[in-house]
Symmetry: C2
Subunit: 193 residues, 2 copies
DNA sequence: GTCTATAGATCGATAGAC
DNA sequence: GTCTATCGATCTATAGAC
């Protein structure tokens, strides 16, 4: 688990900011919306985030990355039981994204030009996730090249499941897709391990 | 092939509008950007689309849906050689999305609240695509339940490949993922057909 | 039909009272 | 550190000349 800084009021505003960015996107999240979501006036927001929306999003991305580092990446990187770790990852991810009702802020940022400011953070998030999952599979004796392919396919598949579940307004499609991704990984672990 | 209306100037502006919405998203695509992309003044845009941005996006969605209907959906729905049809679909999709450099306007719309206005169009697009692909697989003697699952997985997988390729700025990841999706479908056709 | 000019609203961001 | 008031810029949309 990463070291946790003392909670400032700035930190406590991040979940609400993240939810607003999630719902409206970066461009669509106006300061009025961010103010309403956090319960803070614009003045307070600018007191915590002098850099405005950009700094708010940067902080949200750090916060999300920290959560994933603790809950998802680290368990995969320091794995002892790969099958259990893969199962736990899919459980956590399904809960986190609320079966696809909640979009992935990081994935969405990469989709349009307004997110170019955060290209490095977006890239690092996915690169680390894929590499952590691939490592976990390698520990289970899956050959490195296949481990990379499977990891790439799984993370990409989760993102696609979010897009589709949102488009169809159908949680069950998310659950079916993600369940199949999980089975694919567990099968590979079973065959190679 | 669907009936093609006579080309008005309104129609000829749609590709440029689509590209602007694609790059900036619906909220991010300002009228100035749409004007620049089309080479038309605001006055002309409002002459063609009295309903403003909403009507422009509606027209873009119809245009995209028409293209997919002709190029992707119909060949799957009226299939004679399923394996060839699946291969053609992946070729066309890879070219259309430029190996993931181009995002899916329809998929992106579903991701944030600004797209709720177009929820029906978004839903219909994905529902028809999945159902057309599932039909194609059924023609190849893939059992209906499995055909639906595979179709859902493939369309979701394509969307995920776009998200990941954009996030990593890596065309090759798109190509690898989509190639695996294609192989999965062709394998099922080969096993059942 | 095309454009420019501009209205009216809202944007991000700042200033200053408390 | 909180808020309200407000700035200048930009937004969508409209009006009207040509």
């Amino acid at each position: 688990m990463s070291t946790k800084r003392a909670l400032t009021d700035r930190e406590s505003a991040l979940p609400a900011l993240a939810e607003a960015f999630r719902e409206h996107g970066f461009e669509g999240a106006t300061l009025a919306a961010l103010s309403k979501a956090t319960g803070l006036g614009k003045g307070s927001l600018y007191n915590f985030f002098p850099g405005g929306k950009d700094e708010m999003m940067k902080a949200v991305l750090e916060n999300i990355d920290g959560w994933f580092a603790d809950a998802i990446f680290s368990p995969l990187e320091n794995v002892s039981d790969p099958a259990a770790a893969v199962t736990a990852m899919f459980d956590d991810v399904t809960a986190y994204f609320r079966s696809g009702r909640r979009v992935c802020v990081v994935g969405c940022l990469g989709l349009n030009s307004s997110g170019e400011t955060f290209a490095v953070e977006v890239k690092d998030y996915f690169a680390r996730w894929i590499s952590a999952l691939a490592h976990c599979l390698e520990v289970a004796k899956v050959p490195p090249a296949m481990a990379m392919d499977l990891a790439e396919e799984a993370i990409s598949g989760i993102q696609g499941a979010i897009v589709l579940a949102r488009a169809l307004s159908d949680d069950t499609s998310f659950q079916r897709i993600v369940h199949r991704l999980q089975s694919t990984l567990l099968d590979a672990i079973g065959r190679c391990g």
